[in-house]
C-alpha cells in the first residue's frame, strides 16, 4: 500500500524560505501571489494492506519522526 503525506509548517511559524521563494516569484512577474509556505512530501510504500492499519502506522511515523509537532502539521493526502 502506498501512502502520501504532506508536512507543512504551522501558521505562526516563520518560513524564511517560503518568503524568499515568494519574493523571487514576484521578481519573475508572478505578482498575484499572496503567500508561499514551503513543506515536505513523503511517499511511503508499506507491506501493510489494510488501509486503516496502514494509515494508523503512518500517523505514528509522522508523530514520532517525520514531523516535529511543535512547528509542523502532517496530513495524509493519498492511500492506494
Amino acid at each position: 500500500m502506498k501512502i502520501s503525506v504532506v508536512i507543512t509548517l504551522k501558521k505562526d511559524v516563520l518560513d524564511p524560505q517560503g518568503k524568499v521563494i515568494h519574493q523571487t516569484l514576484d521578481g519573475m512577474g508572478f505578482n498575484d501571489v499572496n503567500e508561499v509556505r514551503q513543506g515536505k512530501y513523503f511517499e511511503i510504500d508499506t507491506k501493510e494492506d489494510d488501509p486503516k492499519k496502514a494509515k494508523d502506522k503512518v500517523e505514528e511515523m509522522c508523530k514520532q519522526l517525520l514531523a516535529n509537532l511543535v512547528i509542523e502539521n502532517y496530513k495524509i493526502i493519498d492511500l492506494k
Partner: protein, 227 residues
C-alpha cells in the same frame, strides 16, 4: 571526573570537545552512536556537526539512534547531559529540552564570535562562575530557537533560559540576536537543569590561538562544580 562524547555519523566537533574536556581534567571517552551502553560518566556531551547530513530536520535522525535511549535514561535519572550546536538540535528532537531550532532568520550560515549573558547560575553548569558575560563562538545554519507561547511561559516560569545573545556588557537586545531566536535565547535547560542545550561552542574558545579563552572559564568551572 569522567565524561563521554557521543560520535554520530556526521559529527565534526567531537574531537575538539575531547581535546577541551581532557585539557580541563576530564577523563573522556568517545562513544559510537550505535553502541547501546554508556560508559560510567559524570557528563555526557552531544557534540556539534551535521549528524546524518541534517536530513529531515537537524538532529532528528540522531535523536533516534541506539545510544540515545541510554542518554535519555541517564538524563531522566539526573545525569548531566550537554548538547552543543547540533547536539542542542538533537536534544530538542528527543524532547529532553523544550522547543525547536529553525533555520536562521536571514537564511545565512553564521560563523562568528558572540557574547552571551548567563541568565541562571543556580545549576551545575554555571554555578560559581564569576563572569556574567562570556564570549563564545557560533557556527550554524539552524540556530533560530522557537517554541510555542505556552512553552515560553513555562520555560520562563521555571527559569530554564541558560544564556541569551547580548553585547559585551550583557545588554540583551534584538540588535545582538544573530539568528532570530525568541528572546535572544542561545541556550536552554530542562526543568531540572541537568540537561543543557546551547548553540555556542565553548570548546572553540579554550586557547588564545583559537580567538579567545572564555571557554576555558566555562570548562574549569564545570569540572569544579562536578567534583
Amino acid at each position: 571526573m569522567k565524561s563521554s562524547v557521543i560520535t554520530f555519523p556526521g559529527s565534526n566537533c567531537d574531537r575538539d570537545m575531547d581535546v577541551a574536556l581532557k585539557k580541563f581534567g576530564f577523563k573522556n571517552k568517545m562513544v559510537w552512536h550505535n553502541d547501546a551502553e554508556l560508559p560510567k560518566s559524570d557528563l555526557i556531551v552531544l557534540p556539534g556537526g551535521f549528524s546524518y547530513g541534517d536530513y529531515l530536520r537537524c538532529g532528528s535522525m540522531a535523536s533516534k539512534s541506539k545510544i540515545m535511549k541510554s542518554v535519555i535514561n541517564f538524563a531522566n535519572s539526573g545525569g548531566m547531559v550537554m548538547g552543543i550546536c547540533n547536539g542542542f538540535q538533537i536534544l530538542v528532537e528527543t524532547g529532553l529540552v523544550p522547543g525547536v531550532l529553525l533555520r536562521n532568520k536571514y537564511l545565512e550560515f553564521i560563523c562568528k564570535n558572540v557574547f552571551v549573558k548567563i541568565n541562571n547560575k543556580t545549576n551545575r553548569y554555571f554555578n560559581n562562575i564569576k563572569n556574567n558575560v562570556l564570549e563564545f563562538h557560533i557556527a550554524h545554519n539552524e540556530g533560530n530557537y522557537f517554541c510555542t507561547q505556552d512553552q515560553l511561559k513555562e520555560i520562563e516560569d521555571n527559569d530554564q533560559v541558560a544564556i541569551n545573545y547580548c553585547d559585551e556588557n550583557g545588554k540583551v537586545e534584538e540588535h545582538y540576536n544573530p539568528n532570530g531566536s525568541i528572546k535572544n535565547i542561545a541556550g536552554i535547560f530542562n526543568k531540572e537543569k541537568n540537561v543543557l542545550g546551547m548553540m555556542p561552542h565553548p570548546e572553540r574558545m579554550i586557547d588564545n590561538c583559537l580567538s579567545g579563552e572564555d571557554g576555558s572559564i566555562f570548562f574549569n568551572n564545570l569540572i569544579n562544580n562536578l567534583k
